[in-house]
């Protein structure tokens, strides 16, 4: 088969149709990019898509905070951390020196009453929530480079913890499921309304990518029954919208979410990303169970890259790639993000060997 463009390749991979090779994409911790830049492998501001030859390019275009026009207010700042209150009224602590997700210190919203007073009335499809320029520019660049262009953003589940925190949300799933359903439906509606504005004015992307961290070690946050009752209706709404526009859907989830996969497929998921091995996810088992109707991106244990041992990297790739490329529905990606313990040379080897194994004769 002649060489395909990234756009052609990813389009086929998401539909499990023949391709020249498996796809390629990756996420990196900021500290990793800083290290590789210090070492001279990268230059500040350079395109990682260009440098590594990624098949895909994404753009986060929406601001979904209740007070989207509010800059985070600094409450306290030390040499190492900064404590802020954001547009959802959430108090978050972030590290200044290195890259990590923020500590959830407090939330204005702890229950349905807080949601109805402080958040829901403000979640209107205001044009000011949309980064039109960024979307237009990224879409144009992806088209010029023949990359598969995805709109990326938080899904209906991932939009709730920034408002009320995981514990209040999960308690709400038990004590007040109608509240959680209302949040899910409201965010689904907001997402679709904003997409409608953006896509009608700027054109469609090639696909949608929803970030939905629904699991942790060895278990999802909720039971499959709770997923179907409270979250899946929002997934049906947003993914049906995608399908009405002819767009395939990639869903990212950290953690162990295998029990939720059948429900996600029912809702319209075409590809599961990131398949976190250390949380218990098993790419080969998922391929055996769902490979005829689901594509995959990730599932390669990033811990084998830590020691920068090429033979360990080789083992991980050799055990998985020849199998999961079977249905043409696979894109090379680590099982989370590349941390700064990984040398540039090791990552390069991971890509080169992975694509070598993933090339179809």
């Amino acid at each position: 088969m002649t060489a395909m463009t990234g756009q052609e390749r990813m389009r086929n991979i998401l539909a499990r149709k023949p391709v020249d090779r498996i796809g390629l994409y990756e996420h990196f911790w900021a500290d990793t990019l800083s290290r590789w830049t210090r070492e001279g492998h990268l230059t500040p501001g350079m395109s990682l898509e260009d440098h590594f030859g990624f098949d895909l390019q994404m753009m986060w275009a929406f601001n979904t905070a209740a007070r989207h026009d509010m800059a985070p207010e600094i409450i306290e700042e030390t040499e190492e951390t900064v404590l802020t209150r954001d547009g959802n009224g959430a108090v978050l602590r972030r590290h200044k020196q290195h890259d990590t997700t923020p500590e959830h210190v407090d939330f204005l919203v702890k229950d349905r009453a807080g949601w109805e007073e402080h958040i829901k009335p403000f979640l209107t499809a205001d044009r000011a929530r949309i980064n039109f320029d960024g979307y237009r520019s990224a879409r144009r660049e992806a088209a010029e480079k023949n990359r598969f262009f995805v709109w990326a953003g938080s899904g209906v589940f991932e939009l709730m913890p920034p408002v009320c925190g995981h514990e209040h949300m999960l308690v709400g799933m038990a004590t007040d499921p109608d509240w959680v359903k209302d949040m899910v439906n409201t965010y689904a509606r907001l997402t679709i309304d904003l997409m409608e504005i953006l896509f009608s004015e700027e054109g469609l992307p090639d696909g949608l990518w929803f970030y939905e961290d629904m699991g942790f070690k060895n278990r999802p946050f909720m039971s499959p029954a709770m997923y179907r009752e409270m979250i899946q209706p929002g997934h049906f709404a947003t993914m049906r919208y995608a399908k009405s526009k002819g767009l395939p859907v990639i869903v990212h989830s950290c953690g162990y979410v295998a029990p939720l996969v059948p429900g996600l497929i029912e809702a319209g998921m075409d590809c599961l990303q990131v398949i976190e091995v250390k949380a218990g996810m098993d790419l080969l088992q998922l391929y055996r169970d769902f490979g005829d109707r689901l594509s995959f991106m990730g599932g390669l244990d990033v811990r084998v890259l830590y020691n920068n041992d090429k033979s360990a990297i080789d083992r991980e790739l050799t055990e998985k790639i020849p199998i999961v490329k079977g249905n043409y529905g696979y894109a090379l990606h680590s099982d989370h993000s590349i941390p700064d313990q990984v040398s540039y040379e090791s990552y390069r080897y991971f890509v080169e060997r992975g694509l070598e194994l993933g090339t179809y004769s």
Binding site: W29, D31, T81, R93, R94, H95, H98, D99, T100, T101, P102, E103, H104, H166, E167, L170, V171, M173, A174, T175, F216, K217, N218, R219, P220, F221, M222, S223, M226, G255, P259, E276, K278, A279, V302, R303, Y306, H336, P339, D340, Q341
Partner: protein, 226 residues
């Protein structure tokens, strides 16, 4: 109700997450007494607080913990059970203050330096409290020196270290080294998404478990049964 019926009822209410009479959850127990009322009744009736604690509250949490390990219940259920347990522990506070009720021991827990995640740590804290441990929660982003300072204030305490990220689990090594240097006999437990038994062994920690129940069972075996 007999004493046994009351403690069985307390255990069942903990398992189902029935906090008190006014709590609407679970819907099929609306209007019934919850852990708060039943614990108060048991103590007012002269029942030994340790029996209420072990046969009622802890028994209920133990059932939930085991079901959680087997993916028969999920985090929302666990959180509600912990809330119900806490309602009972509030009633038992005077008994703990007077020494009539006793904890199994003290457990110092925190997320290691550089890591701001707390969900996993909080679940372990709740489960340990439910298993009868006094838990001192140092929060997130905890430097090794802070664990040591708390350990020196609580001799014989067990230390639990949590990390969610591959980038921060290396800081567990520093904490374990400091504790081994200053208070070598301390039992150190580790947990978190990126951890493995191999990593636990490598850094010289005593125990790793993939879920809270595993740590509870390890401590029961190691400390409470000796």
């Amino acid at each position: 109700m007999s004493d046994m019926e009351i403690v069985d009822r307390i255990a069942m209410c903990v398992e189902r997450g029935k906090v008190d009479k006014n709590a609407p959850y679970p819907p099929d127990m609306k209007g019934l007494d919850g852990v708060k009322e039943l614990t108060a009744q048991a103590l007012a009736g002269g029942m030994d607080p340790n029996i209420v604690l072990t046969c009622g509250l802890m028994a209920g949490m133990s059932v939930v913990g085991k079901k959680f390990s087997k993916n028969e219940v999920f985090v929302p259920d666990l959180l509600m059970a912990a809330k119900a347990m806490n309602a009972g522990m509030e009633q038992l506070k005077p008994a703990f203050d007077s020494g009539a009720a006793k904890h199994k021991g003290t457990f110092i827990i925190g997320t290691v330096q550089g890591d701001l995640h707390d969900i996993g740590k909080n679940l372990v804290r709740m489960m340990l409290e439910g298993a009868g441990w006094k838990v001192i929660d140092l929060g997130v982003d905890t430097p090794p020196e802070k664990f040591l300072a708390e350990l020196e204030k609580n001799p014989g305490a067990v230390v639990g270290l949590s990390a969610l990220l591959t980038t921060t689990m290396v800081n567990m090594d520093k904490t374990v080294k400091l504790i081994r240097e200053k208070v070598p006999a301390t039992i150190v437990c580790v947990g978190g998404a990126p951890l493995t038994q191999e990593f636990c062994d490598k850094i010289g920690a005593d125990a790793y478990a993939p879920d809270p129940q595993g740590i509870i069972e390890y401590l029961d075996e190691k400390i409470c049964n000796n």
